[in-house]
């Protein structure tokens, strides 16, 4: 480990548009780094884990910062949307309250105002929180370069620890969530030692769509944080629930299967054993919460009109 240092010297570039970003990336391939909020990057640069010659600032590209509803009813979030903007977006709150809740809990309020969803996804760390709920929503990301653009499902975007599908000349511009035509409910629950701010020891997201019979799960998606080298979908657990009623026993079983699929590691931060136990509990709780939302409210669980959708606010609903 390196001691914290002053930032390394770099040339700062302030593009105004996506094509300009791509041009810069192409021109300085291998020597440039994109800077979104910088809440991770600045620390990595201080520790000399990253020493870019060019820093391409994305705060000056307005077209990357938006949250919008598509004509087909889908939801698209720009890479530079901040955690704060996502948590306060009424669109996100109405559609996916659990995504707003996840956004509201990306560290401190100070961090919410700066950290972006694009930065969170491109970090490639298995411990960050946006990937799991987005995986359960079957989200896709758009990657753009001078070579063109491509849409990549988030499931498959993560290639290994700190490795993503983003090529050195590419920019992630947006996250796309297709419309859901059935009743649904989602939840994301994370565990850490203190009551806020900490890196997630283990997290679990669940998203359930209800069959037209109004009784059984038509589709279930479950994804985990810090449970493998990458944010992880646990498809065995999902399969075990599809077409079933999400009863206590079913959540129990899914939790058990998920914990078998997970492969967390032991580090000084926590042990694989403890994390595996947490997977069981958190998956069960996330499923329970998601199922409650599907079966009790007409929509996704209308988000209250609060200043902040933080899980510690008792009005948001319990965490179990």
């Amino acid at each position: 480990m390196n001691y914290l240092r002053e930032l390394p010297k770099f040339e700062y570039l302030a593009p105004q548009s996506i094509p300009e970003v791509c041009e810069m990336l192409a021109a300085h391939e291998g020597e440039a780094k994109l800077m979104a909020g910088g809440t991770d990057l600045i620390i990595m640069m201080r520790r000399r884990e990253v020493v870019p010659h060019y820093l391409i600032g994305l705060k000056s590209v307005p077209e990357l910062n938006f949250i919008r509803e598509e004509k087909d009813g889908g939801l698209t979030i720009g890479a530079m949307a901040t955690s704060w903007e996502i948590q306060s977006s009424s669109l996100v709150r109405q559609r996916y309250d659990f995504l707003a809740k996840t956004a509201a809990d990306i560290g401190s309020i100070e961090n919410l105002h700066v950290s972006t969803i694009g930065g969170n996804l491109c970090d490639g760390f298995p411990c960050v929180d946006f990937p799991a709920p987005l995986l359960t929503l079957d989200a896709k990301v758009k990657l753009v370069s001078q070579r063109g653009e491509r849409i990549v499902p988030l499931d498959g975007f993560y290639l290994g620890y700190q490795k993503t599908a983003v090529e050195p000349d590419e920019l992630l511009t947006e996250i796309q969530i297709l419309p859901h035509n059935h009743r649904y409910g989602g939840a994301y629950i994370k565990f850490h030692d203190r009551h806020a701010i900490d890196i997630t020891t283990t997290g679990a997201g669940a998203f359930i769509t209800l069959d037209s019979d109004g009784q059984t799960a038509r589709d279930v998606k479950i994804a985990l944080t810090t449970s493998a080298p990458v944010p992880l979908r646990v498809k065995g657990a999902e399969a075990a629930l599809c077409g079933r009623k999400v009863t206590e026993e079913a959540t129990e079983e899914a939790g058990r299967i998920a914990s078998e699929e997970a492969s967390p590691r032991t580090s000084w931060r926590s042990t694989a054993e403890f994390r595996t136990k947490l997977v069981q509990v958190l998956v069960r709780r996330a499923l329970r919460q998601a199922w409650r939302k599907v079966t009790t409210s007409s929509s996704s669980g209308a988000a209250p009109d609060l200043w902040l959708m933080h899980p510690l606010d008792p009005r948001i609903g319990e965490n179990r």
């Binding site: 914290l4 700062y12 302030a14 809440t39 620390i43 600032g57 560290g107 009551h195 701010i197 933080h310």
Partner: protein
Amino acid sequence: MKQRVPISLTVNGEIHELFIPPWQLLLDTLRDELGLTGAKRCCIEGQCGACTVLIDGKPINSCLYLTIEAQNQEIVTAEGLVEDGKPHPIQKAFVERGAVQCGFCTPGLVVATKALLDQNPNPTEDEIRIALSGHLCRCGAYVQITEAVMAAARETAQKEVGV
């Protein structure tokens, strides 16, 4: 590589024309170039909140923000809350409620409280706690800090209705 670039920075209502290294962090510019030492150099990793300042009314950690990206925005520090030599009601509440001990975390907490009360003038206790959860106070004055924010909220509310 350019060692210094010209920038224009608005801090506490004053415009500064500066010539700074592009890798300079806002915290360092405020402290080293402008002599505004209210924002503290502490963990420099966004974990303690002692360097918090407002950018366009939003609280941010100035240790994780490039100065060059803070141009054309309104920056406010704890020093900037003082008006006509009078401390802000929030600063007053912190002092009078015993929320200040060593005082190293105080300027950051004060501006974070300003942002909270501007957006949410009547916060619940839970909201106050969540809003300040990114601020360490090793003197452990969290109860007093909460009380100070509640008192400041009451006072600003009273001012507004002209009591």
